[in-house]
Symmetry: C2
Subunit: 637 residues, 2 copies
């Protein structure tokens, strides 16, 4: 572990006061080195963390976040914060099962307020905390740190629109590292970019000293100072008209790497008895050349080598994302009505190649999942074939839009849901364990889950030929090498039709959804070695449920459903519902009561902590080994 | 039916061209009379519809919405639109089962594009349609009509932020009737109000003629005209800095009741090859004095008498909303940490009295459900007891926030979910049939449903004493007269504990959730008359499911779950899951296979059209009569 001599002395934020401001600036370099070294071993978010070190030091120098409250947005940029708040040793275990989380986590430290991972929450929750303090009359400072990519989210905007409810201090630090500008060209991004381009470094220095001069710590005279400040700083203020029209006092832009100035600024602007925004410029990847040169590549990375340009990511096999990426490009070549949409995750959802090939048919709306869904709905109305590519956990933001604007209208919008299921080291905020549950209550929607590369392609073709909405879910995982059962996976997709992978004379049938087929087949092989013969079905559809699966119950079979999803409202739950409906209907005619049973395997009613994905599959009982165990424990096989 | 002589001639938008502009202005009066008369009979939205008649006439005069596309926001203000587009006769059947919907509905007319009811979707879907047309190169005009209350929603903002994606015509008409100003004091509302206050009627006339003069129909020279226009109209433009900072050309404000000017304006501003906003002032309740004087009262109304001030609403019994309202006020008197939050529905959710009594403890954030949830999360972190009051269907907008900011943090936020279940005449956009489904997959959350007034109070007390999040759901319905079974309803709430209402020696037990207990008890009475003895259980909790209910299966009982919710992912589904989990666990020890069965009653996998709520309960099989039928059809009772 690399730890400099200054960092050695810092065991908590208080210790920052042992250092001079010049030393704090040196400390920033040591923290950066610590982060770079650590992330090169463990993987994690790098570029944004390197850019925010000085800002983090200055915040902890000015505020006492044991009492004051710091709200992170998304939170993947909290590494320096973790290092300064007593977690520098644990930092080597970043994102590891026994180590610390890559996101803020109240279970780790009193300095972490909310466990977060989704964007746009910091201003909203900070406003709530400010209103809570307003009720109780307490005087802790509340600080929300939001990035330029998160502030464009609808939730951020709703919070900004309601900021006037707070009649007390609430500081919003807008950490502007041009993230949103890389990502998309929304109006806010363009506005911030214009502000940025119109400022020389000289301007920024002048703004900084102007704020500090005009906002001295004079307590109740602060309001007058604000008025004076506005008068003397006309230029900067007119540039802030966006926030001014929202009635939010705005200050900046200022240099986010100058600790001495930041300290003075934080002291000054946190003295108001009302909310205010401080706009700070930082540089992504600062201090580590490869990350500075290619911040997108080092936004979120696996382990890499630090020396020179030999930064190479450790690679696994071909992923579901890559399989989808190729399938989409191929389909798009044949049909120019196919349009891809994403919400700030073009790389993660496999759209990079599509965007290069069809730039006019690829839309990235920034971190704004709700509008991505609605734009797709509008496009589908006009006869296009929109494909919405959003991670399962982030699609939660589009729930209401999928319901009303897509399913109620029965529009042929396709949802390609990456990161569906357990995601490994990102932990509870990022698992995609609820999508079947939040989607399958919607009439008209069909939900499918491919098990391998052939099926990814076939599922997409099926969805593209459908007249209504279709969701395709697949995990953050590799596809099986070759087809699991070649002939089976090549069977064309038909709505609500499963495929029998392995016939059996025994009483037990494994019914696997999507990538779980791999585990089911492995389990069946293992069981066969033990002399236990079980059938295997590739369910393919979580909705509608295949009647053939339900018919197995008439033969007194035991069905074991296996899904990479919560048990609550999942695929197994759908099978239980349909079986109940079928039984109720059937029993009006016959009196059959001696029926098979259904065992459901999937996620329990609790949050699953970070760990390697394989370990998580095992933890919730859906790995091949756990399936074997379940079958062996059955009294009747 | 009152129909004036001009309206008599109008059988479709084309017919508007048979009239002179002066006659159109008279037509507006006739349409208003038709609306007022009709709504006085059927109930419906009144004030907003009376304010938008001239605007609607002018839109249909200028655009050809057979080809051009008109997107409504929320859509409850589409009555004049329906009357002008061939539905004036059917209008008498507004919101009735065999009549027309109170919202836009493509199934009714080619002039309705989206079936909507939630706010903030018009700009988003219009953007999608514009991008779709951009792909296909078609030239239809696209018009989004958004109100000042809807534009504050995060979804609207995300769409505005991405408006630059459209490189073609897209007209946003901002219908500003000060709705948002009545409702809340967000920054946008304040901004619009400032604009409004700073304009005399003279200004508005001048702005109107300025736009018309400077934006003649000169095709490709339009961009130059825009530049000229901006120069000559400095005053108005600086007032538009909110939209200007978002890079959206803005025009207005103009008078929304002057049809001649509106026609010229629509022609002018729809000639741009890019999106633009036209800001129009209208007066809610125009032409009907009681509605003009009290637009809130006439926003959504039951049938009323037209003459003078004798406007009285037909009243049913005491509602769940009223029961909750009183329970909350009583609780809040005893505990000043209780804070109520809503999203533009204080009246509908029963907060009127609370707000009068505790103005400092009541927050209305406007149509912004997501931030309402996050503010509550922040407040709970600070030790307050926030109670979030949102209709089931609108809470869908807060799904992700409930997951991450509330349940993942295990914060004691209380959700009081009104309109949970079938809502009658508002139809598919407004039913609350999915809340159990979208909530019960979230760890830490407890979901309860009271059956009567005593239980509303007890459920709230239970929630207030809980350390984690609790959702309380109840329907748009009256509470039973007195307690259903007094002793039973007074049993204190205990998490996941049901209450047996009626013991039975028979094989069948009705397990009713919430208000369904009334139907279950009625059914049991009826069955008793027929000599069939069934048990009745008040489930109280959809999550966790009471083990006592599951234990009935061991005695080979038939359980019939009854819920005012979709079968998909509902309470019955939860019972099935828990029974399956329990059976799987149990069977590892014993070999019990002869077990009871579970029949689930609830909503099917389709949208339920408008009809009286009673009829809807019967349609989905959860009325007392249908329960009786289900039991009688069982082979083993």
């Amino acid at each position: 572990m690399i730890m400099g001599e200054l960092l050695d002395k810092i065991n908590g934020p208080k210790d920052l006061h042992l250092l001079s401001v010049e030393e704090l600036q040196l400390l920033a370099e040591e923290v950066r080195e610590h982060i770079t070294h650590s992330v090169s071993q463990t993987g994690g978010h790098l570029a944004s963390n390197l850019g925010i070190v000085e800002l983090t030091i200055a915040m902890h120098y000015v505020f006492n976040f044991k009492k004051d409250r710091l709200l992170w947005d998304v939170g993947h940029q909290c590494y320096a914060h973790k290092i300064l708040t007593g977690r520098k040793e644990q930092f080597a275990g970043l994102r590891q099962r026994e180590g610390i989380s890559g996101f803020p986590n109240p279970a780790e430290s009193e300095y972490d307020v909310f466990s977060v991972g989704h964007a746009g929450t910091s201003i909203a929750t900070a406003l709530g905390m400010a209103l809570g303090s307003q009720q109780s009359g307490t005087d802790e400072k509340i600080v929300a740190l939001v990035g330029d990519a998160s502030i464009v989210n609808g939730l951020s905007f709703e919070a900004l629109n309601n900021l006037g409810l707070a009649k007390r201090q609430l500081l919003i630090i807008l950490n502007d590292n041009s993230m949103a500008i890389d990502v998309t060209q929304g109006a806010i991004a363009r506005f911030l970019s214009k502000v940025r381009l119109s400022h020389t470094y000289e301007d920024i220095r002048r703004t900084t000293s102007n704020i500090i001069e005009h906002l001295p710590l004079i307590g109740k005279r602060m309001e007058d100072a604000l008025e004076n400040f506005k008068k003397t700083l006309r230029m900067a203020i007119t540039r802030s008209r966006l926030f001014e029209s929202l009635n939010i006092p705005y200050f900046g832009p200022v240099d986010g790497h100058d600790i001495a100035s930041l300290i003075s600024l934080f002291r000054a602007v946190s003295e108001f008895g009302h909310p205010a925004i401080l706009h700070v410029y930082t540089k992504k990847g600062k201090g580590f050349t490869p990350a500075g040169d290619d911040p997108q590549r080092f936004h979120s990375t696996g382990p890499f080598k630090i020396n020179g340009d030999e930064t190479s990511v450790t690679k696994g096999g071909r992923t579901f994302t890559q399989a989808f990426s190729d399938a989409l490009v191929e389909a798009a070549e044949a049909d120019d009505r196919i349009i891809a949409l994403t919400a700030a995750m073009p790389g993660g959802t496999g759209l990079t190649e599509f965007r290069e090939r069809f730039p006019e048919r690829c839309y990235d709306v920034g971190i704004a999942e709700s509008v991505a869904v609605d734009i797709a709905a509008g496009m589908a109305k006009q006869g296009q074939k929109p494909v919405v590519c959003i991670y399962s956990t982030f699609l939660q933001r589009g729930y209401d839009q999928i319901f009303q604007e897509v399913c109620l209208q029965n529009l042929p919008v396709i949802f390609c849901i990456d990161r569906a299921g357990l995601v490994g080291s990102d932990g509870p905020t990022h698992h995609g364990l609820m999508d079947i549950g939040f989607l399958r209550g919607m009439p008209n929607l069909v939900i499918t889950a491919p098990c391998c590369e052939s099926e990814v392609k076939a599922a997409l073709a099926f969805a593209l030929s459908s007249d209504g909405p279709v969701a395709i879910r697949y995990p953050k995982d590799t596809v099986p090498n070759g087809d699991i059962e070649e002939k089976v996976c090549k069977v064309p997709f038909e709505s609500g039709k499963s495929v029998t992978v392995r016939q059996s004379e025994g009483n037990v049938v494994l019914v696997a959804l999507g990538s779980m087929l791999t585990e089911a087949v492995k389990a069946a092989d293992k069981l066969a070695e033990m002399g236990i013969d079980v059938g295997v079905i590739n369910a393919r559809f979580a909705k509608p449920v295949d009647g053939e699966i339900l018919a197995l119950l008439d033969d007194n079979k035991t069905i074991i459903t296996i899904e990479d999803h919560s048990l609550a409202c999942g695929f197994g739950s759908a099978v239980l519902e349909q079986a109940a409906i079928r039984a109720a209907e059937g029993q009006t005619a016959s009196e059959k009561t001696d029926r098979g049973q259904i065992i459901i395997l999937g996620g329990p009613d609790k949050f699953i902590e970070r760990a390697p994905r394989d370990a998580q599959l095992s933890e919730i009982g859906i790995s091949a080994a756990k399936i074997v165990e379940t079958v062996r424990n059955l009294p009747v096989r």
